[in-house]
Symmetry: D2
Subunit: 440 residues, 4 copies
């Protein structure tokens, strides 16, 4: 889920499911604008000076109503924008239609930069990834220097997912990073807001839309107690579930305990719990041998990163397993030995995007305002040498500015430091107020 800013023009073209949904899309976009004060402030502050004049921005990011507000903010600031979705279940067709009809072109765009030899399409366990490799391979067969040329034009990338950022740091570490990158994920107003408050909202939303099952009284296992896990565990607990956390990290585990949540292993609770959720960003968390031991109609879902947190491959290929689709994204898989079924949501992909509508506008406004600031910075500093082929984070004063742009909507009033107070704690009166290591 990254934005890439580069230098040459794109045509206007689109591939969307149903252009007639544009009217509905536009209505929801207008509602979302009221909930996205950060992006709307960017339009007001930067729109007149057209800072993205000449910039082409390509996004690979869930094509939702909120993303539509981001796209139109970028175009309002002068950019030419191309977009492709990054998840097969997350596209909101009405939002895509409205964008396609009214503004920038939206088209599936290739995501990966690979050069030299052709990718080994079959040598990967993940089917989706094999498809990506196949597209890249086919492109390279037609035009062997394609990605090299793209690289030349590329000014920089801003990335907002934990997993994506991890890959960027790996590329930086092994010298394969070909462009400056801004890690937007680690802005406080992204990571602590989108991951925590966004999931707190959208996990129960997805669970309820998909299953209509009461959460109160149920035993729910949350695998992982990072920001996403914390948000989900809080939501489940507040809904009346008895939450159990699994963790590898002793610090996060101790946080769970201080929050009143037991920390056990999946094996300890697999046959007792009613709801299983992965939030880890890792793979192979819930395996088919776990699923076999679960209670009848246990719910299994993922809000971490990819569908490989759950062993979907193992489930699909389990001998004699039967799949009953209750409705799209809600499947009951019945094991032949016990005739017990488990209910897998969104085919193991992100439940909040597959079964609900993703994070709400307000938190996405925080995340996306970070994206806008990052893109503004990359584009403004192109050619100045300020950013090398490394991964950067946004300076804290911009992080604080993102927050500040969202306070008015909620009627908040900040206290102002006096100069004497600012001197006493050694910060500027106007901020930033915290040292870099501050954890919020």
């Amino acid at each position: 889920m990254a934005l890439t800013v580069s230098k040459t023009p794109t045509g206007s073209e689109y591939k969307v499911k149903d252009i007639s949904q544009a009217v509905f899309g536009r209505l929801e976009i207008e509602l979302a604008e009221v909930e996205m004060p950060g992006l709307m402030s960017c339009r007001t502050e930067f729109g007149p000076s057209q800072p993205f004049k000449g910039a082409r921005i390509t996004g690979s990011l869930h094509m939702t109503v909120q993303t539509a507000v981001l796209i139109e903010t970028l175009t309002t600031l002068g950019a030419e924008v191309r977009w492709c979705s990054c998840n097969i279940f997350s596209t909101q067709d009405h939002a895509a239609a409205a964008i396609a009809r009214d503004s920038a072109g939206v088209k599936a765009e290739e995501e990966y930069e690979k050069s030299g030899k052709l990718p080994d399409v079959n040598g990967n366990e993940n089917e989706e990834y094999r498809t990506v490799l196949r597209i890249i391979k086919d492109g390279l067969l037609v035009d062997p220097t394609r990605y090299r040329r793209i690289k030349e034009r590329l000014v920089g990338v801003s990335e907002e997912t934990t997993t994506g950022v991890k890959r960027l740091y790996q590329m930086q570490a092994n010298g394969s990073l070909l462009f400056p990158a801004i890690n937007v994920n680690d802005s406080v107003t992204k990571k602590k807001f989108d991951n925590l408050y966004g999931c707190r909202h959208s996990l129960p939303d997805g669970l309820k839309r998909a299953t209509d099952v009461i959460i109160a009284g149920k035993i729910a296992v949350v695998c992982g107690y990072g920001d996403v896990g914390k948000g989900c565990a809080a939501a489940l607990k507040r809904a009346g579930a008895r939450v159990i956390v699994t963790e590898i990290d002793p610090i996060c585990a101790l946080q769970a305990l201080m929050d009143g949540t037991p920390v056990l292993t999946l094996e300890d609770v697999v046959s007792e719990a009613d709801i299983f959720l992965t939030t880890t960003g890792n793979k192979s968390i819930i395996m088919v041998h776990h699923m076999k031991q679960m209670k009848n109609n246990a719910i299994v879902c993922n809000i971490g990163h990819f569908d490989n947190e759950i062993d979907m491959h193992g489930l699909e290929t389990y001998p004699g397993v039967k799949r009953i689709t209750v409705k799209p994204q809600t499947d009951r898989w019945v094991f032949p030995e016990t005739n017990n079924g488990i209910i897998v949501l969104a085919e193991g992909r992100l439940i909040n995007l597959g079964c609900a509508t993703g994070h709400p506008s307000f938190v996405m406004s925080c995340s996306f305002t970070n994206q806008v600031f990052a893109q503004l910075e990359l584009w403004k500093e192109r050619g100045t040498g300020k950013y090398e082929k490394k991964v950067y984070v946004l300076p804290k004063h911009l992080d604080e500015k993102v927050a500040a742009l969202h306070l008015g909507k909620l009627g908040a009033k900040l206290t102002k430091l006096t100069p004497a107070q600012a001197a006493y704690i050694s910060v500027p009166v106007e901020g930033p107020y915290k040292p870099p290591q501050y954890r919020y």
Copy 2:
């Protein structure tokens, strides 16, 4: 929302929207059965003896998946069942289709007993009620003794809503009650479960499906702090809203305060809040003059009883007001003076049924098991004179039994009283454990 048990046969016939949805309906009914242990236990315990042999039960109750499980429980116990929905937005077409295809007939049935002179169809402010009166009037013109004959066959009624029960007690008080009635609403396992835990689940569900708006950070006004209001206020607060309660009753008001919630009047907060919810069971709570003062895109909804908690009539007839339907049940009403819009959900009717799928199966299993027990009692005691033309509540041991039937699903283990302990607190070892005035 009442069940009526009487003595003569019905034919099999139905009016449903789309019979082809029966397959989907059946799948969801099967999932719901796993979540409704009370009803399924009734099937096991009473099914073999067919206690409803010869009984005809008519229900007027939201035609949802959960209601389908109730209907099929009644038929499993030997009853002939007819059903009509009681709310224009609450019918789940797939559930209705499955019931229509597979079991008892479902048909709109008249709800009211009125004799003598014809009703004054136009003398009522509520449009829906005028329709009911018109149907009754038309029926009486065709067959003037119709309701008298129905009354003869009628064994009794069980009723599960606060508003319905209030009407029954009024009829009892003024001598117009023509049959025995069991007030199921005041069973603890109904009133404290359905109203409280049901709304706690389904209010945020409705809000999110209808608007996708984040609740965290918002100011939400909950009108009324009875069981429904308590459940809704808890849900909103847990979702991160700042909740403000309005109340007429000082005891409920003090409860809100002890729960950390300010108690103010609607006038105090009408121009500041983001979400307004009525839960009162009374009328004329949010008037059009309130709505005019609200912030742009304030959300207005009702989870109390009828749509007259919100002044829909005043809104619809406000000069120059513009209605923009974002999607079904989500309307933006724009006032001409300010160009501000407010978002009204489910046209002022019950948000959880209009914008989501109503209460979840587990709590409805509690409510409906009370209904089954009440109907069993009425039918068994027909002709014995045990029940006069009065309103009764279920005995506490049945209330406790409803709860007991739902514990196993959640893995609970009860402690058993020793005889010495039972003697010490003067209760039977096997219950009931509490005096009648106990409030839970």
Copy 3:
């Protein structure tokens, strides 16, 4: 914990620990007055007319700062007051001293009415009760008609504990009730406030003062999920404990589950939990054989009624057990087999009174305003025959008045019903607003 109103005068005399603490007591009484708006309103409303002129009121109730405000309210209304404490650990010496110095006499008064044959002092397992019987016996040996004469003068009793009320109903049932009694315990503003909000405040207060142990992360077992148990479980959970409930009543058990709390038996968790609390109002809940199985330094305490909820006798007489008093009310009992100790608080008596200062003034103001209203009613109606030798509850309008008197202090504003709304729900505009069976 009862108030008794009767007709002849008492002398002024007292037995308090240290009269020099009267200054400190007076300061705390003055602070408490600000937190007890119900009682202070009674002084304003009723003081001028001196309604208790001629009445002698005897109280048997924890002699705390809050009780001092009650006593002085009664005297302000014209009563002569005698007081005795009802628990060996609950007396606050400075409050007793202030009352002794400044107002009514305070003296240990006999609590029980028994006539005819002398009590069998040794035939009871409870040492404290044996002492009571001994005092009664000694009194009767000196003056055989003593209690008969007291009975003649007695106008009535108001009682505010669950256990006390249960005894009154037993006496009513078996015909041994010799006076009218008002059950103040079942006023909503007593039972749902004092028991629930009072314990929610004072349980963690007692635990922390006695042990300084963090509650977060601990496993806490709450025996009983009535109003006291609900308040305590909420307090423990909010402090970060993992709470487990034991229950005999399936309805209360299902409430616990809906609140996210597992329901198990003591046996299931006795060797895992860190904190054990009894709230049942029953006896023999935690036995010495349970205590033996507990973890080292497990905390055992009671906030129910008497110290027989915990098997203190079994513990004290356990062969080889060693008692180490860390500080008053905090004892470590070490079992010889394991050398493990358990920490018993307040010697098994009420932890909130033994280890902290009891309920806070604000909730006691609710409870005590009920007491004042009950005493006013009993005294006003003496000789009119309105009250027979039965147990009554206060009418709902007085319950609502108690609440109303406490709203202003918290800045609350009530909404007023319009006459049309009042008619619509069939209640008087000025209340009472709820039917008798309403549970809040």
Copy 4:
């Protein structure tokens, strides 16, 4: 609140209030040991090798029961220890007595390093600081090279408060830091545990012990929403208060809002609120002109750093103000104009230490295990040049180890990464698991 490790011996001597309290102190120390698994593990792991052989460790830190366990851990590892308290109200006399009787000497030790010209004792607004300067001045008059000689022997310092660390970074920045320092405050297991969970426990403890006032229903203003503010706001809200936050930092403000808490200025709410708490680490937060506007018996307290968060000087010198000491650390200050009083706790110093017993053992075990690890590192690496005259933080693997040592006590079980999973997220199987910028 720092530990200093250096090289030459100390004599055994002490100044404690009452040595006879040593027995009680020892009992409480033994209870605390069970709650401090991190420190006890250090004794087991490091005790045999006596790593502090030859090291003299001086601590300036609240002399509590928990500190006693730290001191005895250091001596168990071979150190000679001297201690002085750092707050006039925080010393627990029984803990000090036990330490004095049984182990290392405890003596008031000077805290500041200053060289060259004598300090200007009167040129500082803070009376306590003036006392410190006076002692330093007097010492230098007697022995002008005293601090220079101390500096020579000094190996390093570990510091655990936000304020203390801030000063160290200032000294590093301006070149005046004379020794290596380890910032223990920014260990996750200190800052996010002690500040957050510790205050969440000890703030309500202090409030209740000092005032016995119910928190439910009250309006509480929390100045500052850092870790301490977050813990305190959570505690107050869970106790039923309506919490309002004041903040200067927009990010922390937005966090408060997402948690459902309004953000306003002190001026907005000063005349409405019941409880005021400072948590900022800054000065001049609540001034006397604020206090004058408060409601009668409003409670004012501080859990931040120094007593200058509250304008105690302004209050003390306010013309005509009257101070009534209800009990030690609980003063009612009455303003002459209104005759309204406010209740100031702990004379404006840390309420949890002044009015209660500070943080509970379990969180202090986390903080102090960080201290032990820091001291071990400083002493082991003395003379190796690994640490320059800079401020360091502990490496993440030690932070994770601190957490891991505390899991067993709470019955937690960690999940183990497989090598494939570890490779997938690019971390070692045994940790550390998170990048440095991770915020938890």
